[in-house]
């Protein structure tokens, strides 16, 4: 008699966590567009893109790390260090912004590989290693500037990257888009990138399956370092200044976006498009609140609420279907023979 439940019968993309988040994002957009006079303007979406780029980049690169079951708490501090080094190379070292940028990316990569090397080489937990480098990188940035030195007056050609538009979009939005496509292809369409998921699912199993686990994990952290450097350059161009406190707290925003995007904090499951939706949901929320004249601290509160809600809603179908199965099993054992759906 009993019908298979609605949730257990339907299988489709729209039942996924990402779909739930997409609905949340659309709801945000509809709500803020109707409530805020200037929310729906192109200018405003440019603002959102500009303000989300650095966090977006960090969240993108955080995804493969969390997929392997790791975490990187040092990205925000590394952003600060890279910004300061970039400023120093340009102002005191006499490098052009281009050369300084390349060197900064190199430094970022090395710092990331240091994380990766310590984690895989010494088999230390990522949380501990990156907690250490979190302090180390920020401390270095402060030491380099004595906490007070600020680098400014960058040439307009460099500031273009952070403040102007290029072929219709903010210049840094293109960087974010290229990074997003790149990471999506890497994680979802290459055997190389699928290793991240496999490692997070079962590290030993991945090793027996022939995946060079340590090399892949080291690479993930190296990549995080590289992208932190890139985010530092964009941050500097956007603000027109580099200071030791650049990117304070960004690691937590990035992790929040990744987890909101449906990536399991234990590793093994998640997606790049989910992360992008997470970044967008947070970015739109904090921008939209300004448009309906709500104070900024509400954004933090609502982000937390959103995170918990999204997690709850995404496990709801599973929970309901398991409930249904249990009930059916209970009914089945009492009276009717099991039906075949």
């Amino acid at each position: 008699m009993s019908k298979p439940s609605f949730f257990s019968r339907t299988r489709g993309w729209w039942r996924s966590h990402e779909a739930v988040l997409l609905v949340v994002l659309l709801a945000e957009l509809v709500f803020f567009s109707s409530a805020g006079r200037r929310f729906g303007t192109a200018d405003n979406f440019f603002d959102i893109a500009r303000h989300s780029t650095e966090i977006g980049l960090l969240a993108l690169v955080m995804t493969p790390i969390i997929l392997t079951g790791g975490i990187d708490l040092s990205v925000g501090s590394l952003l600060g260090l890279c910004a300061v080094v970039f400023g120093k190379l340009w102002r005191d070292g006499g490098c052009s912004p281009g050369i300084a940028g390349v060197l900064t990316l190199g430094l970022g990569t090395l710092a990331g590989l240091l994380n990766g090397g310590l984690i895989t080489g010494l088999r230390l937990p990522p949380l501990i290693v990156t907690l250490g480098t979190y302090s180390l990188f920020r401390g270095l940035a402060e030491a380099l500037t004595h906490g007070a030195d600020t680098f400014t007056d960058f040439p307009a050609s460099f500031l273009f990257l952070g403040q102007e538009t290029w072929t219709g979009l903010p210049a840094q939005a293109w960087v974010l888009m290229v990074a997003a496509v790149g990471f999506w292809l890497l994680v979802h369409r290459t055997t190389f990138g699928r290793a991240f998921c496999a490692i997070g699912w079962a590290s030993e199993g991945a090793r027996y399956a022939g995946i060079p686990v340590r090399a892949r994990v080291t690479l993930a952290y190296g990549l995080a370092g590289f992208v932190s450097g890139l985010a530092a350059i964009i941050y500097t161009a956007r603000l027109g200044q580099a200071k030791a406190d650049a990117g304070t707290g960004y690691e937590l925003f990035a992790i929040t976006a990744v987890v909101l995007g449906g990536t399991s904090i234990f590793g093994g499951a998640g997606s790049i498009h989910g992360t992008l939706l997470g970044v967008a949901a947070i970015g739109v929320l904090s921008n939209g609140l300004v448009h309906i004249h709500q104070p900024r601290e509400v954004a933090g509160m609502l982000t937390g609420f959103l995170l918990l809600l999204a997690l709850a809603v995404s496990v709801l179908p599973q929970w309901l279907s398991s409930l249904a199965i249990r009930r059916r099993a209970a009914q089945g054992s009492q009276s009717s023979p099991p039906s075949t759906p």
């Binding site: 956007r238 603000l239 200044q241 406190d245 300004v290 104070p295 900024r296 601290e297 933090g300």
Partner: protein, 333 residues
Amino acid sequence: MKSLLAFVFCAALLFNAGCSKAPEPAGGGSGKKLTVALMPKSKGNAYFVSCKQGADEAAKELGLDLLFDGPTEPDPAKQNEIIENWITLGVDVIAVACENSEGISTALRKARKKGVKVVTFDSDAAADAREFFVNQATPEGIGYTLMDEAARLTGEEGEFAIISATLTAANMNAWRKHIEARLAEKYPKLKLVATKPSDDLKDKAQSEATALLSAYPNLKLLMAICSPAVPGCAEAVKQAGKAGTVKVMGLGLPGENRRYVKEDVTQSVVLWKTVDLGYLTIHAANAVGNGVLKPGDTRYAAGRLGELEIQGSDILLGKPFIFNKANIDEFDF
């Protein structure tokens, strides 16, 4: 029905066009309703909370929409983000206390390019990033007020000493220059016996003050010119049992000195009225937004504060305010 709608639509359009093209009425306070956005360095700071009280008062008086927002944590990028959001939001005037002058100037210049007027208060941005700076106190005003108050407390004679932050800090030295100029000019019987640094630390100020008290037994007054040094000096005088005999005064926040003022250890605390600073900022923002206040003006009448002086592009709040036992309870920052 259709024609009626068309008529209403046209009328609305005309009305709109008429509104936006109407010339600004001359004279202050009667311009169009403005939206002014006010940003402190950080929102939780009691200093800025009391600025906001004055800002609210002025906004009510002038009938303008006041937005108040700022970073809750010290992140220089946050101030810029809020400014950019405000530009998109289409506010008329932005008034901001800059955490980091260079960093925020980028965003403020962008605002000006888009036709948003910019006023700074408390701490300035680059001069080309704003129209006016509401300056709460000039070095001369601070120096003279401190010296005059010291003279009043000592009866214009005897020995006194200064505790500074560091001997190299630019603002401290500017104040000291004016203190010493005033001393030489007006108070020949007062003698400055020592100037000691405290590294902007309360403990260091306290130990320096203790040393001064034993080195100069005839000392009549300690003047602390950085805020942690005022309670530091007070603690030293109190522990030496010289409360009342050696007077304590200085530049500081009423809140952290309230206890000593009530115990008669500290006689006077010099600062500006933060409520008035907020009040003036909103008045100036409104006047700039209405085109009443223009670059080159030398005087500005700001509501209950009356006629104020403008030096260059600095609107001066006027002489600092002296907090003492009689009035300190009226201020909660």
